[in-house]
């Protein structure tokens, strides 16, 4: 086996090659994804542009340093089964890259809702480094008797037992396999100064991928009431939609929510395909963002109430101490080494493995 630094270089080369505009495999996977209506062109392009920026900013090197990956501490010899969900394009990309960088054998159950994009990247890695064990399929049964050492997936309280049961049934992981399960669902924005730049950032953070990602802003805490910000917010959203038409539309239940708010004279911004409403806590449905008037105490209350379900707290125009916060501009453009559920994928994989 090559030294880990050589291995990392090969992964980087694969990434560079895959992300180059001439890469035929990526182009083909993009075309298939768009033509089959799986995701919008704008969302796919956005995701790819983020990865390109990550690469140009040496995020890989930083990630390796942060995780402490080296020749002694790595995941070589481990079989890692990754189950990728498909709520947004390339949602499993970071996990796949982390697993491969760590030196583990990668087995990926790709989402039926996003079967082409990640596959084209994995093909590129195989091409660059034929010794790297990479297998993937959209069918979990393909991993029957795999007996993986670690399983990584994102789930909810309801889905985790069912997924574990299926893995047991297929003997896809050993009985002592470590499960790295992510359950975070929401991100919160603590909005400070209301100005055009911050509203624009907030718009992107709420609406990119239809607001479906765990990094998408699901709740806003601001010193202002929604009514005060509504006009500027609506203008910004309409501008955003001109460039990024919303790909998936909500069901009629969203109108139901709007009608209920209207009946009770609650403050809301109704946009037909999206609803921003003044309401406490996290929204109970997709395509909805809750707006709360409040300060840091409100953020603390949300953290206490939702705990691990909160992925990130962002700020814009507000200095915050005492919380682990991210700048709102990174909500939909995270570093490659961002931590889903506060966990570093590489750290998790190399733990107890050296």
């Amino acid at each position: 086996m090559k030294e880990i630094s050589t291995h990392i270089d090969l992964v980087k080369e694969a990434l560079e090659e895959w992300l180059s505009s001439e890469n035929a495999s990526l182009q083909e996977s993009k075309e298939k994804t768009i033509s089959e209506g799986l995701f919008s062109l704008q969302d796919v392009e956005h995701q790819l542009s983020v990865f390109r920026k990550n690469l140009a900013s040496n995020d890989i090197e930083q990630w390796i340093d942060r995780a402490g990956l080296n020749d002694q501490l790595n995941a070589r010899g481990q079989k890692v089964l990754c189950l990728h969900a498909g709520n947004l394009p390339l949602v499993g990309f970071q996990t796949a890259v982390g697993t491969i960088l760590a030196g583990a054998d990668y087995y990926g159950k790709l989402s039926q809702k996003d079967p082409y994009l990640l596959a084209s990247f994995l093909d590129e890695v195989k091409k660059q480094n034929p010794n790297q064990e990479i297998q993937f399929s959209t069918d979990l049964e393909s991993f029957r008797n795999l007996e993986a050492d670690k399983v990584v997936f994102a789930g909810s309280d309801e889905s985790v037992p069912e997924v574990k049961e299926k893995i047991r049934e297929f003997n896809a992981a050993t009985s002592s396999a470590k499960y790295i399960v992510r359950t975070a669902k929401y991100s919160v924005c603590f909005l400070g100064k209301v100005n055009t730049a911050n509203i624009k950032k907030l718009t992107e953070a709420m609406l990119r991928y239809g607001g479906k990602g765990c990094r998408s802003v699901a709740a806003v805490v601001s010193e202002h009431k929604l009514d005060k910000v509504k006009g500027e917010l609506e203008k910004s959203i309409q501008e955003y939609w001109k460039e990024n038409p919303q790909h998936k539309k909500p069901g009629p239940n969203l109108r139901y929510k709007y009608a209920y708010n209207y009946a009770l004279d609650k403050s809301q911004l109704w946009l037909q395909d999206f609803l921003i409403q003044e309401s406490e806590g996290m929204p109970g449905s997709d395509f909805t963002v809750n707006w709360m008037q409040g300060d840091l105490k409100k953020i603390e209350q949300l953290k206490q109430r939702y705990g691990a379900k909160i992925q990130s707290i962002y700020t814009a125009g507000k200095k915050v101490s005492g919380f682990d916060v991210e700048d709102l501009k990174y909500a939909q453009s995270p570093f490659l080494y961002w931590k889903p559920d506060g966990m570093d994928t590489i750290e998790q994989l190399i733990e107890e493995s050296s």
């Binding site: 969900a85 789930g155 889905s159 069901g251 209920y260």
Partner: protein
């Protein structure tokens, strides 16, 4: 204004009554008026087009038809159970006589009340005057002129002597109580009841987070009270309703004639799901003439062709926000 008799008159088709109540509430209930307007449902072609107001409205607003011009609210109101910190539903009762009528006529649809003595293993009226269930039990108890009907003392086994008196009177016992109360009662002592007793379980499993299924609960109650399971019945009611549904030894509830239950698609509550498919329980309760008769609950249920329905607990919204891997979808 429509009268009680109109609501309870079985010679008028349910659909006609529902339409007229809809017209009334759409015009004179401010909250429901606004709801219909926002839904674009001011004009309807059939009863199926009537929009159901989410039941949490009773937690957040005063749902009264019509509201007095001076804003004065009725003196009688019911409140859902819960702690003082919880936001609880409040149902204002403009005409207690209508509720009384619904209780008595409703019970008589399924039981001959003349034959029964009512015992309530629940708090007394003066301990909880804003409970719609206890108000109902007090009404049933007051209706029994033998004076054998009563609220029982909690945390005490049933009195053998009183049980014998009921048998001697030629009447049958109908014992009301919440699931957790009954479980306490059967654990307390050997509580074998007269063989023709009906045990009426009134719910409360959600509130007390009982981790057993309804079927298991009824099996336990049948065994504990020494009765066949067919005599363990259930009542489905809530603060926001002035009518009740009943089940008779199985899990299927039947409605009184002025009430209708449909199972709605959570993605589109204007649409009913197919028989046997899970969805949100939607209710039309015409006895809610002076509040709102058209409600969408947060309960999960299924229904069948004869109008009977099952309650399967709370509906957990399938909020797919976040990267949730699901076997069937991914």
């Amino acid at each position: 204004m429509l009268s009680h008799n109109f609501i309870f008159d079985n010679s008028i088709p349910f659909k006609e009554k529902a339409r007229r109540v809809f017209e009334l509430q759409k015009e004179h209930n401010l909250v429901y008026h606004r709801f219909c307007k926002a839904m674009g449902s001011e004009e309807i072609a059939s009863v199926k087009d009537i929009p159901l107001l989410p039941i949490e409205a009773f937690k957040e607003a005063e749902i009264v038809t019509p509201k007095k011009e001076n804003g004065e609210l009725p003196d009688v109101w019911f409140q859902s159970s819960g702690t003082s910190r919880m936001v609880r539903s409040k149902h204002f009762i403009s005409d207690p006589g209508l509720y009384r009528g619904s209780i008595l006529k409703g019970m008589n649809q399924f039981y001959d009340l003349e034959d029964y003595v009512i015992w309530a293993y629940t708090p007394r009226y003066n301990e909880n005057p804003h409970s719609s269930l206890i108000w109902m039990l007090r009404t049933l108890i007051e209706e029994d002129h033998t004076r054998l009907s009563k609220f029982l003392e909690l945390d005490k086994p049933l009195d053998e002597k009183s049980l014998k008196e009921i048998t001697k009177s030629g009447k049958k016992l109908m014992l009301f109580g919440a699931a957790f109360g009954f479980l306490d009662l059967i654990e307390m002592a050997d509580q074998k009841l007269p063989p023709d007793t009906i045990v009426m379980e009134t719910g409360g499993m959600k509130t007390h987070r009982l981790e057993i299924s309804k079927v298991e609960l009824h099996q336990k109650l049948a065994k504990g009270f020494g009765l066949p399971k067919s005599q363990i019945h259930s009542e489905y009611g809530m603060t926001e309703l002035l009518s009740q549904a009943y089940s008779f030894g199985d899990e299927w509830f039947a409605c009184v004639p002025w009430m209708n239950v449909s199972i709605r698609d959570p993605k589109n509550p204007m649409k009913e799901v197919d028989f046997g498919e899970e969805g949100l329980i939607g209710i039309i309760d015409l006895a809610n003439l002076y509040s709102c008769s058209f409600m969408l609950t947060g309960d999960k249920g299924i229904h069948r062709e004869d109008g009977k329905f099952q309650v399967l607990g709370r509906w957990n919204p399938k909020n797919l926000r976040g990267c949730n891997f699901l076997i069937e979808r991914d």
